[in-house]
Symmetry: C2
Subunit: 453 residues, 2 copies
């Protein structure tokens, strides 16, 4: 991951802004921020300590507040919104896309939310209310309502004249939607077909069969998969009766894909994917401590298992020294399998149909790796401690535990998914508990049998 | 992560195909595969055991081979390519996008590569050779060459007539590029401006200033960031002299974003992001064993530290039992910080300008969490073992180690990045070594001082 010059630029800008902020040169900071795109402003806010954010927010041109809110991650946005007055928020709301605005409103406390809605004009309010009626993570929740609709029986020439009259198209328009008089979706016609067709061609002849309408209830993950599968740039959204409601463009989908992919990594460390890197210390401490608490319980469980072998540990201090080795290797091997399975499940590669094949495969990989590392560690220990028996004990435990790790790495995430629990979040704790317990039992148990007096 | 119906569909298809394959109903399998989009065919290949892939590949309509190759992940693709004859490959190559074809050719052994190139017709060959002249991970390596160029001094009407004459636009065309007579890039005109402008307007008046050309050498990560920053749908690529070479569309960028985000998660488990879930057992064993080997070394290092305290461990078996607790909590806390920092670095939130702020913050979070868990564990141990001194020892060690974990979680990835080493790959091993060593030293060292006889 070499530093790209883009990132250097970000850091350069950030340094400049922070330095000026530190010396109280507010007018200069305002000037620096003035010409930056919303994405960069969001980046600066997200990269600044939480206490600087309020000042920076005030220095950003208020006309850009809406766009910047759209780009911010949820946690940072919440922190800023908390400090804004409802009237001010309503003002900012005017310039925002309906889907983004709905997302913002959902995070507000009820009283503020209602105040913002009531201070909007009635047309805007009804559009936002429509967007709010869909679940956040569905096609309806991420769609925009600014579509251009045409009738099937008009000619290309009529459409072109209409467009010229309109003067401007909604952002990212790559196709128009053909609807009947009751707004039922008939099909999509791409802009490139309109410009290449003869003027007298009737629109219904240009309909692209490959584009199907998405139901407003479709989960956003599924929407993202369809975009990836068919290389769509935009897609129409309809209600249960097939009436056109809006459209989803690929830039919304890009965000979903990034979040999905980040989600697994963050969850595996017990973090929220919207976690704010520069959150206040108390907030971060609180957020982290949940996961540490869960891990303490599993660690105490391993301690309890060890304490069953207090006798042999008291007899042979070398066992105490080596006791971490087998669980640690099991944890690493198990986490490899787990990570692969979690990714495979997210990409749709793994499910009922091939779970068994995968289980056998990982069992074999675990066993084979078990043999390799068992032999190696046995040799090291036998030479180091001049104790062939001790070497055999650790070798046996290693083989057992790496095999168990392979099985656990496949079965735990599949099982959690059946229970509707996120495998990325809970998988690695459960897995580590299994590899710790199996590792300690196999090592200290065999040692008690073979080395005990 | 609930199972979406999309994923159920995939699994349904996979079950059907595998069942038919198992009973030797090849004609039926061929029929099943016939109407699937390339993305689904790639998904089926990637979700099947490596030995079924050769059969499946033969049963896929050969006209679709090119598209399917484009969709496959690198490792699976390599396995299939290895078994194809060069002439067959050259045939398949004809239908592929230049950027994808170049990617495929790069993975071939030299002799096959040259044979494929020489069996292509000269026009295709020179286009592919041009694409191959750029680095795989740069704008030049991912661009396509099918752009539509127009002159600045023509009118909208002329352009529209030209387009109608052409009859079809390259896939995903949302803008045209304006060039001078020597092919130097002047600017971009969006298709939506062309259709909304009056016919007599001159093209040069419609140029969109926001779209800047990317240099062919720009790393693909940076390209992806620009697309995200400006919500572009496509962007022109130029050489050092500013001559137009091609364009990048957002569907190429989506792949980069997904790979980037997956890369961190896979690397943290010591896996390649192109790893094939259903690779043969020997191959997987070999790939995993590298990481297990690295971890064995760090685990042995921790063992060596423990063995320095053999005396006290021999005296007090309870220390042996509790010895895993402090390192384990340190590892978890450190990995949380590490994960957050790695994501922050990838998103460009963290760099020189705010590393110190972050360090102080994580130090405080580690210290605070240290106090919480130290008090808790001390109480548990003091009550369980009726030993206040032992409780104090473990509390002190916990506080030390969680603080160290916070510092290590910030400094290790930043330091690795300075050395141009991927923090996602090496970070967690180094971090665990630090938290193991600090944890053992703090616990057993303090125990020796306070509890030893």
């Amino acid at each position: 991951m070499p530093e790209t010059s883009e990132q250097e630029d970000n850091q350069q800008r950030l340094l400049q802004v922070n330095k000026a902020l530190g010396s109280g040169m507010f007018v200069y900071v305002r000037k620096l921020l003035q010409n930056m795109p919303a994405y960069d402003l969001a980046l600066i806010l997200q990269s600044s300590p939480s206490k600087s954010r309020t000042v920076l927010w005030q220095l950003i041109d208020h006309d850009h507040h809406g766009e910047v809110l759209e780009e911010l991650n949820e946690e940072v946005r919440k922190g800023i919104l908390k400090k804004m007055r409802p009237e001010k928020l309503a003002e900012v709301a005017e310039g925002m896309d309906v889907d983004d605005l709905a997302e913002v409103l959902r995070t507000l406390p009820d009283s503020v939310y209602r105040e913002v809605l009531s201070s909007m004009d009635s047309q805007d309010r009804s559009r936002v209310e429509a967007a709010l009626s869909f679940d956040e993570d569905t096609a309806g929740g991420i769609m925009n309502t600014d579509t251009i609709t045409i009738r099937p029986d008009v000619t290309v020439d009529v459409v072109l004249r209409y467009l010229r009259l309109k003067g401007e198209l909604p952002e990212a328009t790559d196709s128009f939607y053909v609807v009947d008089r009751k707004d039922h979706f008939i099909g999509a016609v791409s802009l490139s077909h309109i410009v290449t067709a003869k003027p007298e061609v009737v629109i219904s002849k240009l309909i692209n069969d490959e584009i199907t309408a998405l139901n407003a209830d479709m989960p956003e993950r599924e929407v993202a998969q369809l975009f990836e599968r068919y290389d769509w740039f935009s897609a129409p959204v309809v209600d249960d009766e097939g009436r056109l409601l809006g459209r989803i463009t690929i830039d919304d989908v890009v965000d979903i894909i990034r979040e999905e992919a980040e989600h697994s990594m963050m969850s595996m460390a017990g973090l929220d994917d919207e976690a704010d890197t520069f959150a206040p210390v108390f907030k971060s401490t609180q957020q982290r401590s949940v996961w540490l608490g869960v891990n303490l319980i599993t660690a105490l469980f391993a301690v309890a298992v060890s304490s069953m072998f207090e006798d042999i540990l008291g007899q042979l201090a070398i066992l105490a020294i080596l006791n971490t080795l087998v669980p640690s290797m099991g944890g690493v091997a198990g986490n490899q399998t787990l990570t692969l399975v979690i990714r495979g499940m997210a990409l749709g590669h793994i499910g009922e149909s091939n779970a068994r094949t995968l289980l056998y495969k990982e069992l074999a990989v675990g066993f084979l790796n078990g043999i390799i590392w068992a032999l190696l560690i046995a040799t090291v220990v036998a030479i180091w401690k001049q104790d062939f028996m001790l070497g055999s004990v650790i070798a046996f435990a290693m083989l057992m535990n790496l095999t168990a790790a392979g099985i656990a790495g496949v079965t735990i995430p599949l099982f959690l998914k059946k229970l509707d629990i996120d495998p990325a979040l809970a998988g690695s704790v459960i897995l580590t508990t299994v590899t710790d317990v199996v590792g300690i039992f196999a090592f200290l148990g065999t040692a008690t049998l073979l080395l005990g007096t």
